[in-house]
């Protein structure tokens, strides 16, 4: 469009750039939009017989009623607890770390530290989870070492508890929190922090009122990148939680893999998507309210200062 002004050369530059996006669009439409749409469609159907997985001859909301039964809700509450606690812990651990990496570590060493953070990211997450299973298992070296030191008498049994699952998910998703936080904090201009200091703010006030608000997009990205995959993950819980690590993902999977009830499994998957979306919206609303309160108070403070100093 903008190339018209160049006259005869326009022909050479008229690459239909929009067209270059169409292969990806077609691919996504065929293998993402269509199948996910089908899940919504199946969720309105039923399982007609022992050997059939689904039928949509009658459209009904019964599968949702079934999906919202007691077992599912209990499992859901557990999953949501793990999801929220895990995400919060990732933020609590990752934020000081990312701040340290972006602000305190000298630039030439940052390369090395960032590479160190990335190495676990590039190794198989299931294998890393199994590594924790070895650490936590009663025959494992953690238990043996503690026994030989006389700290405990009986083999140590942290494996197959909720605590173990929480440890596993925090471990597995921590790099997903650290990276966006680091990127956001790295972009905050150091001179803004200096200006804040020069204007008399102490380090806490600078961190809370200058650095953190500027890093907000990174915090939001980190929360999303951790919370969403965590809610659907059942592998970590299966490896470290055993029977107690029953996550919603496991229930959905068993409807497809064992029970062969695609209608019910689809309804469960839709409920999972809806709950994740609602949790994100609620968190975003709380975040927006907090931001508004902070800025509103600050503005009034500043207005008060301006009025109070006529000279």
């Amino acid at each position: 469009m903008s190339s018209d002004r160049r006259g005869p050369r326009a022909a050479w530059r008229a690459v239909p750039s929009g067209l270059l996006a169409t292969p990806a669009l077609a691919w996504i439409a065929l293998f993402f939009v269509a199948p996910v749409g089908l899940v919504f469609w199946y969720s309105l159907g039923r399982k007609p017989g022992l050997y059939q997985t689904h039928a949509n001859d009658v459209l009904t909301l019964d599968r949702y009623r079934e999906a919202l039964g007691d077992t599912f809700l209990t499992s859901f509450a557990g999953t949501l607890r793990i999801g929220l606690a895990g995400t919060a812990l990732c933020l609590a651990i990752g934020l000081p770390f990312a701040y340290w990496l972006a602000v305190k570590v000298r630039p030439h060493r940052r390369f090395v530290v960032l590479a160190l953070v990335l190495v676990p990211f590039w190794t198989n997450f299931l294998i890393r989870t199994i590594g924790w299973q070895v650490v936590l298992s009663p025959e494992g070296f953690a238990s043996r070492a503690m026994q030989s030191l006389g700290l405990i008498d009986t083999p140590f049994s942290m494996l197959f508890t909720r605590g173990a699952v929480l440890l596993g998910v925090v471990y597995n998703y921590l790099p997903m929190m650290i990276l966006p936080l680091y990127v956001a904090l790295d972009r905050v201009d150091g001179s803004l922090r200096e200006a804040s200091k020069d204007l008399g703010a102490n380090r806490w006030r600078t961190a809370l009122q200058v650095t953190l608000p500027l890093a907000r997009p990174g915090i939001a990205a980190g929360l999303l990148l951790v919370f969403i995959p965590l809610m659907g993950d059942y592998v970590t819980a299966a490896v470290l939680g055993g029977a107690r690590g029953n996550m919603v993902g496991q229930l959905v999977a068993s409807q497809f893999q064992q029970a062969q009830n695609w209608a019910l499994g689809s309804a469960m998957a839709v409920v999972l998507i809806v709950v994740i979306a609602l949790t994100i919206l609620a968190t975003a609303a709380v975040g927006a309210a907090c931001t508004w309160l902070l800025t509103h108070r600050r503005r009034r403070e500043l207005a008060g200062i301006a009025e109070g100093s006529p000279a």
């Binding site: 199948p35 890393r128 590594g131 299973q133 490896v239």
Partner: protein
């Protein structure tokens, strides 16, 4: 100002603790790959038995080979589709197709794996069985397609970010010199995009190697990928062979990572290498 060293020291200690935390299970797996016992978790003595056993176990070798072939296919598709799409999005950000693709790719990124998995299984079954597209009954095709979706989104956003950071004057200069579009893309645009394309390819490859949940759904028996094999071993009992094979794969991944980092470093310095590999830009 007196508070400074203490806070800084606490922060540094925290940083080191987090790094130690991140490396604990990896170190454990590497150490236990030298376990001579029958069970992974109970240490019986040092030896290379597990490596010998792993490299002569046909199930393990076939699972790894399925995974590597699937990862190569997925990375290839993701790089082709993602590079074209990222380029288009950066150069024509306002277009209707562009906006639609951006929204869809973002949705692909935020959809939990379990949902993609349960969506793709019936879809492949209905394409392959009901509509006689027998292509989709192949385990390799299913894994490649399933893994390529997320990877395409990753490559697209990496390429778009790099494109946005560059002005279009080089391409315009080439156009002014009457270079035809395809040649221009190959000779001017592609070399400029190389760091993000390489980083994207590597990311697509490892994401595919890593994928457990979607693979568990779409796999066809007889072509079980490595993570699914490992996951089934968790239930059946973990043996040191798994740790040995994982240590070998970790070594290979690190070698690939180092090779790409070297190329990127030569192309644009260490900061750019890290940024590209971490998906920062």
């Amino acid at each position: 100002m007196r508070a400074r060293p203490i806070v800084d020291r606490v922060l540094s200690l925290w940083g080191l603790l987090v790094i130690a935390f991140l490396f604990t299970p990896i170190a454990v797996i590497v150490v236990y790959s030298f376990n001579r016992g029958r069970l992974l978790a109970s240490w019986e003595g040092f030896g290379f038995d597990a490596y010998v056993a792993a490299l002569s176990n046909d199930d393990i070798l076939s699972a790894v080979s399925v995974s590597v072939r699937a990862a190569a296919g997925a990375a290839l598709i993701a790089v082709v589709l993602g590079t074209l799409c990222g380029y288009a999005l950066a150069r024509h950000p306002g277009g209707r197709i562009g906006r639609l693709v951006t929204v869809l790719l973002a949705l692909v990124l935020v959809t939990p794996e379990i949902v993609s998995g349960v969506a793709l299984l019936p879809w492949f079954v209905s394409l392959g069985v009901d509509h006689d597209l027998t292509l989709f009954n192949s385990g390799w095709v299913r894994l490649v397609v399933a893994h390529s979706l997320f990877a395409t989104a990753v490559v697209t956003f990496l390429v778009r970010a790099r494109m946005q950071g560059m002005d279009s004057s080089l391409e315009e200069a080439a156009a002014d010199l009457y270079t035809p579009p395809l040649r221009r893309f190959r000779l001017v645009t592609l070399p400029l995009l190389l760091p993000s394309v390489l980083a994207g390819a590597l990311m697509a490859f490892t994401l595919s190697l890593d994928n457990t949940i979607i693979s568990a759904f779409v796999q066809v028996s007889g072509s079980t990928p490595w993570p699914v094999y490992v996951f089934s071993a968790v239930r059946a009992g973990l043996r040191p062979e798994l740790a040995a094979m994982s240590a070998v794969m970790l070594l290979l991944t690190l070698a690939a990572l180092a090779a790409v980092a070297l190329v990127l470093r030569r192309a644009g310095g260490s900061k750019e290498a890290v940024d590209a590999l971490s998906g920062v830009r």
